[in-house]
Structures are given as C-alpha cells and as structure tokens.
C-alpha cells in the first residue's frame, strides 16, 4: 500500500497545477471547479486526482500512437512481410499491472471519501435540519426544529452543518448545489435520502434540479443563501412572527385570499402542499426560482417587475407548471399589478 500512496504523491505537483488551471472555469457560485465548501472540496479532490491520472494515461497512449503511425507507416515499394509477432507475455503483463495500480491509487481515496463520516448529520444536535421537498417545478424547505417552511430560497447559517432530508411530492428530482456539494436524488416517501453540507462563506449559491422531471426541468432552480449566524436567527424570528399581511384595498385583499391563498400560504398559515409559501417573498433572491430580483445585473430585474411577469402569464415563464393563470381566475390586469405591488412590498426585515 505504501507504494501506491507514493505513486499518488508523485502525481501531486501535476494535480496542483491542474487545480489552478481548472479553477478558472465557471462562476464561483455555480461551478463544480470552484468549490466553496468542504463537501464539494472532497469531490473536487477526487476529480483532480482522477483527471491527473487520466491525463497521464492519455499522454502515454497518444504518444505511442503518434510514434507508431509515423515510424511504421508503409513506405513506397516496401514489400517485405513484417514479422508476425504473436504477442509478448511480459508486455501484456505490464499493461495489465500498470492500469491495475492506477485503479488502486484512485480506488483507495474513493472508498475513503465514500465512507467519510460526517456526511449525514441527522443526529447532530448542532446541525440545522432541513427537509427538502421537490415539486414540479419548485423547491420547498422545511425547518422542522423552528416550525417554518419556505420555498425557492434556502437560508442557511455559515459554518454550520445543514442536515438534509430529501424527498419528492411527485416525480424524481435531484437536489444539486454544484459549488457546495454533489447532487442527491429526491425519491418518494419510503426511500428518503439524507446528506449534509456546510458553507463556510457568506454568499448566494445557485442550485439546480438535475433529474429530468418534465418540461420545466431546466428551470427548476433555487438559491442557497448563506448568512451569518445572527442574520440567520433574525430571519427565523421574522419568519415566525405572524404579521398582518394583506393588501390594504379590501377588494384586492378578498381576491388575494380567495384566488391565491387557496393554494399558497403566508405568515402563520400552515404550509401548503401544492404551492410555494409566499412569506416574505419581496425579499427573496428570485421569483419562481429563475427570475432574478437584482436590477443591478443585466439578467436581473426589480422584484416588482419579476412578479408582474410571473403573474401575468406563469406558463410562459415555466412551461408545464401547475399554477393557474390569474387572468383565468377572474383577476383584471390592474388587480394583478396590485397584487404584484403588494407582494413586492411584503418583505421580512
């Protein structure tokens, strides 16, 4: 075993160089190659090791091939019959043993990481427990210990282990935050998956659904927002404090209640199984997971505008999603805009 480790070590300089090179690829909040937490880091370590080994293999194969093609190319009027070599026991053993060693060099750390404890923190008293539920095409996050449920934005404190319990309400989805950890499928009840990650640094990370789940599979995104411990406590507190949240105009309030709250929940209402909670939607990172609430960026827009886009035609934003068009529910354009304004102003402090 000593030997294989040494072989592994000899690959280190190349691994390091490769790491630097790959780190240039992609956005920090999205790319697998720029890990922002220990779990993604451990996958990335294996990736660097395996890429290094594989590049070595490729270089050997390519150079032998190039040499053979050039050196043994048939020349004009070359007509003698080449020796019909049967094979070579020594050589054949050589290229059985070398790949075997390379495989062992990769297999040992792989098995180690597979078993690495700490990837399941469901019994950890200190961990934040979040139940993730996949829906066509939105994400629900339930913090059982705090009795709150939110959607689309997963708020987590930095430095703490987040212990996830994953499942789905309909088809299979896969929960993936590339820069924080690899993905894990959400299976129906009975085969619930558990795993965990942590984010040392504050920031907003992009999450995706990685299992084909219907037409809007590609739009089933979410955001992971890592905040300081204090900010997290404050967020929890404001989520728990049920405010009077209703549009001021009584007609609008009535419409909102009868047409929207039949599926959605806000404030202290019990979470709805069919639609995302709207509590504090005005302060979320995005509307519907994909319309970015950031007017400083060219692919973003103010939250009000995004809400209007969504409410005026949900199908055109996310084809195949399950929300009825408010117009078909008898809301006029003005009423829709009014509700959008109300929601945009519904923020948590």
């Amino acid at each position: 075993m000593m030997k294989t480790w040494q072989a592994g070590k000899r690959l280190l300089p190349m691994t390091a160089a490769l790491g630097l090179l790959l780190a240039g690829c992609g956005r920090e909040d999205l790319s697998v190659l720029r890990p922002q937490g220990p779990v993604a880091e451990s996958s990335y370590g294996l990736m660097k090791l395996s890429i290094t080994i594989m590049i070595v293999v490729l270089l050997i194969v390519f150079s032998i091939a190039a040499y053979v093609w050039i050196r043994f190319r048939r020349k004009k009027d070359q007509d003698e019959i080449p020796e019909q070599v049967e094979g070579s026991f020594k050589l054949e053993v050589l290229w059985t043993v070398i790949p075997l060693i390379l495989v062992i060099v990769l297999a040992i750390p792989t098995v180690k990481v597979v078993f690495a404890a700490g990837n399941d923190h469901s019994d950890d008293k200190d961990a934040i427990k979040v139940k993730v539920t996949g829906h066509q095409y939105w994400w629900e996050f339930e913090y059982k210990d705090y009795g709150i449920t939110t959607a689309q934005d997963l708020i987590i404190p930095t430095g703490k282990h987040i212990a996830f319990e994953l499942s789905t309400k309909d088809v299979l989805h896969s929960f993936w935050v590339p820069s924080l950890a690899g993905k894990m499928d959400t299976n129906p009840d009975g085969t619930v998956n558990r795993f965990s990650f942590s984010a040392p640094n504050e920031g907003v990370y992009r999450g995706k659904c990685a299992e084909l789940c219907g037409p809007s599979h590609g739009f089933m995104e979410f955001k992971v927002k890592a905040v300081s411990g204090d900010a997290f406590e404050k967020w929890i507190a404001s989520m728990k404090a049920p405010e009077s949240v209703m549009p001021e105009d009584p007609v609008l309030a009535e419409k909102f209640k009868s047409q929207c709250l039949s599926c959605h929940a806000i404030g202290s209402m019990p979470a709805s199984p069919v639609a995302p909670s709207l509590t504090g939607i005005g302060s979320r990172e995005s509307v519907a997971g994909i319309l970015l609430n950031d007017d400083t960026r060219e692919d973003g827009a103010p939250v009000l505008e995004n809400l209007k886009t969504w409410l005026h035609d949900p199908q055109s934003v996310k084809p195949g999603n399950k929300m009825p068009n408010p117009k078909d529910r008898g809301l006029s354009d003005e009423e829709i805009d009014g509700i959008a304004e109300f929601l945009a102003g519904y923020t948590l402090d």
Partner: protein, 612 residues
Amino acid sequence: MDWITTVDHKKIAILYLWAGGLFFGIGGLEAILIRIQLIKPMNTFLDAQTFNELITMHGTTMIFLGVMPVIFALMNAVIPLQIGARDVAFPFLNSLGFWTFLFGGLLLNLSWVMGGAPDAGWTAYTPLSGKGYSASHGVDFYTIGLQIAGLGTLIGGINFLATIITMRAPGMSFMRMPMFAWATFITSAIILFAFPAVTVGLVLLTFDRILDANFFDVAGGGNPVLWQHIFWIFGHPEVYILILPAFGIISEVIPTFSRKRLFGYSSMVFATILIAFLGFMVWAHHMFTTGLGPVANALFSVSTMLIAVPTGIKIFNWLFTMWGGQVRFTTPNLFAAGFIPTFTMGGVTGVMLASAPADFQFHDTYFVVAHFHYVIVGGLVLGLFAGLHYWWPKMFGRMLSESLGKWTFWTFIIGFHLTFFVQHFLGLMGMQRRVFTYLPNQQFDTLNLVSTVGAFLMGVGMIIFLVNVFLTSRRPADAPDDPWEDGRTLEWTIPSPPPEYNFKQTPLVRGLDAFWKEKMAGHKGMTPAEPVGPIHMPSATILPFLMSVGIFIAGLGFMFSRDEFSSSIMSFLFNNYIVTALGLLITFGSMLMRSLFDDHGWHIEPEELEGR
C-alpha cells in the same frame, strides 16, 4: 418481393443496413434540432415539451434503432463468411429477427404522427414515465415498440450464438476464430442475458400504464427505484453490446492494414470475456445519487474502475499490432486510427465517473453526455465506419471512393471533437443535462455555440458518406476477392459479393488468420475440406414478415385498448381487444403454417456450381 421473403444472411445484412441507416438519419436529425435549440440561452426555437420528446427519441432511436442494426448488418454480412459457413444456423429466424426489429422501430416512430412521442428520457424513469405524468400514448409507443424490436435483437443474438458454436469450418477452433467473430459471440451472449431484463421491465411498465398495475407506484406499494435497477441491469450490459463489436472490427482492420497479426490474440479474447463479465456487475454506477448508501457505492465504484484494466489491455495490444508493421492509411484504417485516441478519452472519463463521490458532481450533467458520446460515437460509430468502409466491397462488390472516404473521416472527427469535448466543461461548470434551455450569464453560451457548430460539421461528414454510397452504387461491381490485398480471414477468399452459397467447398482452416497462412505458404486460395457436392439452401418465405406485421398490429391494438374513439366502430374494435386478437391471429396463424407445412428447401447441384 425478393427482399421481403429472403432468408439469405447477406441480403438480410443489407436490409439491416438500410433500416439502420434510416433510423440513424432520423436520430441524427433529432440531434441537430436539439443542438439548434441549445445554440444560445433562452432560445425559443423549440418548446419544452417538444424538446423533451426529441431528447427521448434521439437517445432511444440511436441506441436501439440506429447503431444496433448497423452492428447486426455487419455481423450478418461477415460472420458466416469469416467462420466458413454457408449461412447462419437458423435462416428463417434471422429473417424474423429483422422484421420484428423493423416493425418495432416503425411503431416507435409512429408516435411522432399519432399524438405525441415519448417524453420521459430514453431511460424512462418512473414515475415521470407513468401515466400520471406522461399522459399521451408516447411512453406506450416506447414500451411496446421497444418490446417488439427487442424481440428481434434477442432472436438475432441467439442465432449468432448457435451459428458460431455449430457452424465453424473444419479446423477453426475457438482460438483460431477471427476477433470479430469472438466479439459477435460474446456480444450475443450478453444479449442473451441482458435482454430478458429489459423485456420484463417493459412488460411491467406497460402493465402499469395500460392495465393500472402498481409495480412502480409508491401509493400502490410499488417502488420507482426498482425501475432504475431493472433498466440498468439491462442498460449497462447494453453499452457493451454496442462497444464489443466495435472492438472486434478494430481488431480486424488494424492487423490487415499493418500487415501483422493481432498482437496478444489470446489476451484480447480474455479481455473481451472479462469486460462482458464485469459489464453485468456495475449497473448501479448509473445510480450513485439514488441513495444506495456507502457500501453499495463503494463496491460499484471499484468494480466499475476494474473494467479499465481489460480495456487498457486491448488498447495497448492494438498499438503494438502496428508496432513493427507497415501501416497503410486507407479510409477504414483512418477510422480505426481515429478510434484509438477518441475511445481512450471516453474510457478515461468513464473511470473518473466511477469514483462515486466525484460522480455526485458529474452525474446527470453535460460531463456524462460528453462521456457517453465519446464512447458511443467516438468509439462505436467510428468503429462502424471503419467496418463499413472495410467490408463494403465484400458486401456490394464495389469499393467506396477513398478520397470521399477521407473527407468523411476528417469532417466527421473534427466535428465530433468540437461538439463533445467542450461538453465536459459545460458539465463541470454546472450545466445539467436534458435542459431545454438555460439562463444567460452562466458562462455556458460560447461553449454551447461551439458544440452546435461541431454538430453541423458532423452532419456534413455524414452527407459526404451518403454521397459516396450513392456515387459508388452507380459504378460497376468489379471489386476483386481480396480488394485490400492484405486480407487475412476467410471472407477474402471468395468473390465480392459472395455467391448465394458463400463457399463452393467448405475451406479447411489451418491456423489463426487462415487465408494469410495459406498466402504465406504460397497458395492462392484455401484448401477445401470437402469435395464439390450439392449444396442445401433454405427456401425464401414471407412468413417472418407476416408474423411481424401481426405483432405490430397486436401492439397497436393493445396500446389503444382503453381509448375512447369518436367513431363507435373503432371503439368497439379496440376496446374489445379485437384488433389485438386479429394481430395475434396473423402471427400465430403464420406460426401454424410454418409448423404444418414442412419446407425442405432446395439444392444447388454440382453441375450448376461448376458452370459458373
């Protein structure tokens, strides 16, 4: 009519080739549409539903209907010749296998015009493929079409097993068999063990959808992950069903154009068997993220990595076959040369994927898309091109144009690497697979554009190949028996194209590379193992065609048995299973005919053989 009733393996090979070409073309068009949609972010060229249908049909068509028949075409054309046989073991079954395959494929593609193609991915994961989430008949076309086509594949596989076991020419022991025959033998064995699994899976899914069974429905006590296991227990060996024949082809082409025997023949045989064996043990590496737990993930990780060892043996043996030889870059050998580095790149990404914790990141991203296209297109399709150019003169008596062949090669392979190399990076940068579009500003835009441009270049390569085929077909059929001059195996000892009976006299095999051995001994041809005598030939028959039509009708009937039609006659016919029964009646009636009326075939007399 001749083509519908033929039982001659050489004609069936050509039928497989045309059918495969047709489906390959359809799958290729689907691919181009997919790439056009992904050329830029938030593209609206296709809608989401159509896109999902296209990716589903592209994958299904390419794997089951595009490359499989081309593999079967080459096997049919070459195997009996290579082992010195006059036909396959069961010519009637051979024809039946083709027709069920064709009608299954047609049924599947009918979905485009009959109200919606399957849309749950070629892997058809439940519950998305269940009736609750895929309400059109799309997935029914998938289950029933593949069931029928799979029947043909299974029949074909069993036929090759029997042929290779029982019909080798005198002197051809297993260890003297050409590598392509070995590959066919092992591939057929994999088919024999793997296809029953998918047959069962498809039956269960059909029952779930049409008869409201609950095999994969949690609410009814079923389990959707069960589908994944069944699918991949078939699906993983399936990828070896695809690649082993390519290995076989490369092992024929490289020695011929290096003028050397295959380096390490026995280790090649051993490696092939080992790959097939390991191929059955690693299915769950497609399911690392399903939550199998660390023990299963560790085991499947390591067993998957082990496949790299026999694969490596093969690659180095090919390289050392050329070492010390006289390498000639004809079109077939150019494709074989392109195969080695390209396939190796697909192999090494496979080993990377095998590391489970790393696969948590790779899985279901464009990295995987790149990986399997490197093995399937960069490995198998390049192999098939090598084989087609190599054996074309034997199949059709005409040499394909070498210069057009080289153009095909260069456009295709450059296009290929442009298309798929960048996809590794797309995956690593966070692009999931099977997305109908993507948001801007994720740094995916340029790479996707490059990928689409590459796809068009590959398309150009395919068109040049078709032009080559067309132009060649108009030239006289004057290819010599041994057109590459350095042929080593038995197929090069007989005329191109071979006569109906292949060998006037069964040859006597005196070693590996039987023909080469005779040439080195100064002989012009093979020593016959028997005197000239009457040759028994099977009769042509339309029954296999009719049986397949029957199954096709029965499949359609079953699929629509629960539908309400606007016309009451239609409802009556379908809802009472009358259409289904009619189809089955045709099939079983034909079977009955076959068993009641003995057909002893016919003979070609010695005078006729000599009179040629």
